[in-house]
Amino acid sequence: MNEATSNTATRPGHHGVAAPVTVASGKERRAPLSDATKIHSKDVCVFYGQKQALFNVALDIPERQVTALIGPSGCGKSTYLRCLNRMNDVIEGCRVTGTIALDGENIYDTKLDVVMLRARIGMVFQKPNPFPKSIYDNVAYGPRIHGMSESKADLDDIVHGSLERAGLWNEVKDRLDSPGTGLSGGQQQRLCIARAIAVSPEVILMDEPCSALDPIATAKIEELIDELRENYTIIIVTHSMQQAARVSQKTAFFHLGNLVEWGETEQIFTSPRDERTQGYITGRFG
């Protein structure tokens, strides 16, 4: 029933060519939205040992848009998110079935290199987790291990650009050598975002990136997400309805391991089709 949404599951085409299909919500003033599918997932089931955490999730993530995953605690949002960059591989006893395709290419293909996949799909975690290294090394780590820079100047450039885009440059430019763990929570989270975008990923996964932050830091990150949307496909897990409404174009609602409903954010928040979605967004449970 939940496939009956507005999204036309187009084959991934060359991005930016597809005509805008949807009308953007009020605050959209930039690039016309392409509805080309970046990530296509179907029949995704996840098991932790015997326990099934996700049931036949089918969700298409559009390119260069922000997709918000919402739902009550324990419904499987993080689990789904972690399927997308195969972070679940690291968890003992975790099994994923179904298909997830990035640009039409199955990411669970045995021939696919996980490391390359994770370079293409970056991740920002719920709790800021900078490496216990300098701010510079935090950002430079990814480019270094992927051999992305020819010279020191090149690397400096990447670090500068990433910090700039993460809106952190002005705050840290004088102390790039001090430890990343010495920053404030909000700065740390932006550092983690800078670290993620330093490897030029195509997709950025964010698992409750603002849950440990105050409203001002949250506003900064939200602003940042809005800017990043221009270049990256973003999937964000959030517990805040307001946040989902503010930053996302698409919203998917999970409940007890099922994807209940997904579609335009505006539609989900103004006229949800499902009773459970209605109940959740109006704050009656969750």
Binding site: E92, F125, N129, P132, G142, I145, H146, T181, R195, G279
Partner: protein, 440 residues
Amino acid sequence: MTDFTMPSVAGTATTRLRKPDLSPGRISRRYAAERRFRLYGVLAVSLAMVMLALLLVSIVSKGYSAFMQTRINLDIAFDAQEIDPQNTHDPAVLKAANYTALIRKALSAQFPDVTERIDRRRLYDVVSNGADLQLMKMVLANPAIIGTTQSVSLLAGDDFDMLNKGRISRDVPEAERVLSDKQVGWFDKLQSAGRVHYAFNTDFLTSGDSREPEQAGILGALVGSLLTMITTVVLALPLGVMSAIYLEEFAPKNRLTDIIEVNINNLAAVPSIVFGLLGLAVFLGFFGLPRSAPLVGGLVLSLMTLPTVIIATRTAVKAVPPSIREAAYGVGASQLQVVLHHVLPLATPGIMTGAIIGLARALGESAPLLMIGMVAFIVDVPHSIVDPSTVLPVQVYLWADSPERAFVERTSAGIMVLLVFLVLMNAAAIFVRRRFERRW
């Protein structure tokens, strides 16, 4: 969609709300309990410190004098007739000469009134039995001194050294003393003639073991211990860290790895002598490695240290926060990169702590080394890990076992050297640990 139920907004309170007990009695009891706990802690620490202080005081008070040595200045006539009658200057001739006779002549010249055979023999004990070697070295180094008379500072005999240090009391009756009244008198005479010196004992730190306590030095055992420890570190640390990391990060978790884990833990509790027997059977018996060699000692001790290092490393690796691993995986680090770039540096302080514990135990170990022959009496200072040698704790054991009075202070001095070695080793490990300690 009928399975979907709304949870009730608020549960009905079934019990009446209770207030926390804020009575002064309860609070003062809590304070008293905390004070008691602190007191117990302070007591425990003080007791440990007192024990340590006692140990140190008893060792140092017994051992400090070994770092000083009594020497006796004699005018030795390097008589050409005695040393090199043919004037060949051939080293073989110079080596074979009877230097003891020179010393005896010098002593007799000093005490012309001592004529009885038995008394003269006792007189000769004033100077160490090994003093002739010193003269020989002098002559070999500079044959020109043959025919001249030189004032030479010679090692005193061990009993006279003890007398000078006050370890042999003049107050006990002659019958209970190793030195007779006559001998004491001769020594006093030498002293009043200004011929007795009391100087820092460099020989103790620069020579190997000897049957004569006044000539026995610690260097052989020190170098032996050093070589053995180096072998142990080089073998046990990489091997232990690699196995631990493999087991913790790469190995599948199954029955086999469980069994391996249990066995490693058991191995840590095996008595050290068993490792010695194993070394005897395998390294000496089967592989035919040289007996008494630091190489074999290091092999045996690294077997013994390995479980400690593995357990400490696994604990340290487990303690690395998962968020750091996730962060590294998230930017596309491979498993090996995650381990080498993040897990290992963060685990290094813990690994170092484990290594300190393991190596400190290995350094103080003597039982397994007895089994592989490191207990042999070895005079030469070893130059490589295959030279026969002994180690500090075994040297201490050997000296403690010797009957001569003068070995008592050497034993304590040996322990002091062992403790200094231990402190230096720990300091090095703590230095490494500090360098890698980071906050997050």
